[in-house]
């Protein structure tokens, strides 16, 4: 019978200055070699629980206990618990692969010869052997994820914690990660992961621990709330009063290449009618963001032409009011003192009269479900709320074309569905054309009128 590696009993935690606790009476026992998945909506306390296990929560008020069984063979240059954070980009601290993987053992004062051995072993475990001297800047999202795992493995933990490891990965990346974790499990690692969508990992997960409002539920052997992941159908109506639709987006034979990475787009042609809903799918590095940047005039293609909302070869300065673009991690654009001012910014720039601005902002906040947040400072809001604010700011001028680049990143399933519902309204209400570029499948498979697949810079069309 396997012994407990991790035993959490009645754990509670309140962040300094917080009015409500982040964790309340969380209990669970995890055996050696198990793979446990913490499930729950954004903000339920999953990440806080991982930080508590790793011992990174300082200050605030703690209650309960966490017991971690140390492995017998642990040496002075090892740690019992390794934690891989969600965003690989800001977790990687060094310039080269070897330096990054060596960072942990260096901190533990391991001798250089030992560090060398561990670096090689860790890189081999994640399939990055031979990449020691490579610059991490050129790595794909999947490679960066594997590098962060290697940088933790080099400290010889027995318990691996992974926080939303697939948040930046496409389908192929998720499969590769699942294979990798299956290998670690066979080697005897104990794995605790948090995931919004654990479906890719059902073959390796032994138990699910649901977390809701900081409280743990009873562990289950099968995926809890399976029905929430099934495709929903958002209400969709055909735009009324529109008999003949013009062309909203027309790209002809766009070619784009970068000096460092080569060809991004190969003779891509695209035609989207007014009021259409289009899903542009494709893996990481397929060229989706590059295509959107070309459409928005942020990149000048090597060849080909673009016509967007009736503007030929547009520059970004021509587009406010006609085209809205929501980039990945849209909270990075927030700057105003209140949500109201944030949403009103574009309208002020377009010269709308004050009473018109007031009316439009109120209506937009209501459409996005954030009418109650008008006077709040945007950066004090949760990630999901900030996402809504950024979306409201982009749709406030009622653009004819709305482009969204990976809008689901960081959102849980209910938030994604809610976002799709908002976007579904726009063609109907305002005749807007909506194009979503995403490597994730849409939570509602019937949302898109058309699905386009971009692969290695080439566009294929799949019509529903």
């Amino acid at each position: 019978m396997k012994s407990d590696v991790l035993n959490i009993d009645g754990l509670g935690y309140r962040y300094p200055g917080a009015s409500t606790p982040a964790l309340t009476n969380v209990s669970c026992a995890i055996k050696a070699g198990e793979c446990i998945c913490l499930t729950g909506d954004s903000g339920c306390g999953k990440t806080t629980l991982l930080l508590a296990i790793k011992g990174l929560l300082r200050g605030g008020s703690h209650s309960g206990t966490i017991k971690i069984a140390l492995p017998v063979s642990q040496d002075a240059w090892s740690v019992p618990v390794g934690l891989v954070f969600q965003k690989a980009e800001s977790q990687i601290l060094c310039t080269t692969v070897a330096e990054e993987v060596a960072f942990g053992p260096e901190n533990l004062c391991a001798p250089p010869e030992e560090i060398d051995v561990r670096v090689r072993k860790a890189l081999m475990s994640v399939g990055l052997d031979g990449c020691e001297t490579r610059n991490v800047e050129r790595f794909s999202a999947g490679q960066k994820q594997r590098l962060t795992i290697a940088s933790v493995l080099s400290m010889n933990p027995s318990l691996l914690l992974l926080d939303e490891p697939t948040s930046q990965l496409d389908r192929q990346g998720k499969q590769e990660l699942c294979t990798l974790l299956a290998g670690f499990k066979k080697q005897g690692y104990t794995i605790v992961m948090t995931e919004h969508d654990p479906r890719p990992f059902t073959t390796i997960i032994d138990r699910y621990l649901p977390i809701a409002d900081g409280r743990s539920g009873a562990p289950t052997l099968s995926l809890p709330d399976r029905e929430r992941y099934e495709s929903k159908t958002a209400a969709k109506t055909e735009p009324t009063g529109v008999t003949e639709r013009g062309v909203a987006i027309h790209a002809r034979e766009i070619a784009l290449s970068y000096p460092e990475t080569g060809v991004a787009l190969k003779q891509v042609s695209l035609k989207v009618l007014q009021g259409e809903r289009v899903h542009l799918s494709g893996g990481n590095g397929a060229g989706k963001s590059s295509l959107l940047r070309c459409l928005a005039g942020l990149e000048t293609p090597g060849s080909g032409t673009v016509e967007l909302a009736g503007i030929a070869n547009p520059r970004p300065e021509h587009l406010p009011g006609k085209v809205g673009v929501l980039f990945q991690d849209p909270s990075r654009q927030l700057f105003a003192e209140s949500v109201h001012n944030e949403v009103a910014f574009s309208l002020h720039r377009l010269g709308h009269p004050p009473n018109e601005i007031e009316r439009v902002v109120t209506e937009t906040l209501r459409i996005c479900g954030i009418g109650h947040l008008g006077e709040r400072a945007p950066l004090t809001l949760s990630f999901g709320e900030q996402h809504r604010v950024a979306l409201a700011a982009v749709i406030a001028p009622r653009p004819a074309v709305l482009l969204l680049d990976e809008p689901f990143a960081g959102l849980d399933f209910p938030q994604r569905l809610s976002l799709l519902e908002i976007l579904a309204e726009l063609p109907d209400r305002y005749g807007a054309t909506v194009l979503i570029a995403s490597h994730d499948e849409l939570p509602d498979h019937t949302w898109a009128d058309r699905t386009l697949k971009l692969s290695e810079g080439r566009l294929d069309e799949t019509t529903h």
Partner: protein, 189 residues
């Protein structure tokens, strides 16, 4: 800083604070490189240097914060090949940084006033221009030539530094309103 956070550097800065100050240094490096590429104007780099120095002081209101930024920028400049002037680069960045720290020590809330920020920014930028003056004096430049050159340079530097500092109180106010920094040394995670 919450009292429970571990002190990381110089017996005062946590790792978070030190990293934030390091990123202020990153921004100074970026703006120096970017502006030189496009504008090729002497002294204009003080516009952003003073902006980020004062912003560092506002985000980490501890004595020594700006000096740390100056030290990091100096060392990074040498490593990146922007510091062909050798040890003088330390003087160029540390002199204005020390002045901002001194202003913070004497008048801790100066960062909330546009006028005070502009004054500190202008003085610190003018001080920076004196680093070349010292070298030229040591090498025996005639005093009248030195004086004229210094006055012109200092005025230009002060102008850029003063203007660059004007926006700092507004930015600090918004960061505080959004709960990202606090008036004292406490910061929310």
């Amino acid at each position: 800083m919450n009292s429970h956070e571990q002190v990381f550097l110089w017996n005062r800065f946590t790792l978070r604070e030190a990293l934030l100050l390091g990123f202020c240094a990153t921004f100074i490096i970026l703006t120096r490189a970017g502006l030189r590429l496009h504008l090729h104007l002497p002294g204009h780099v003080m516009f952003f240097t003073m902006f980020f120095y004062l912003l560092a002081r506002g985000c980490v209101p501890k004595i020594g914060a700006v000096t740390l930024v100056g030290l990091i920028v100096s060392l990074a400049s040498i490593l990146l090949g922007m510091g062909s002037k050798g040890p003088v680069v330390f003087v160029k960045f540390l002199l204005p940084a020390l002045l901002v720290d001194l202003a913070g020590a004497l008048f801790p809330s100066f960062i909330s006033s546009m006028v005070a920020c502009a004054l500190v920014g202008a003085l610190a930028a003018a001080l920076r221009s004196l680093s070349d003056t010292g070298l030229e004096w040591l090498s025996g430049m005639e005093e009248e030539v030195l004086l004229r050159k210094t006055v012109v340079t200092a005025c230009l530097f002060a102008l850029y530094g003063g203007f660059g500092s004007l926006a700092v109180p507004s930015i600090i106010r918004r960061l505080r309103k959004n709960g990202l920094i606090y008036r004292g040394s406490d910061r929310k995670w």
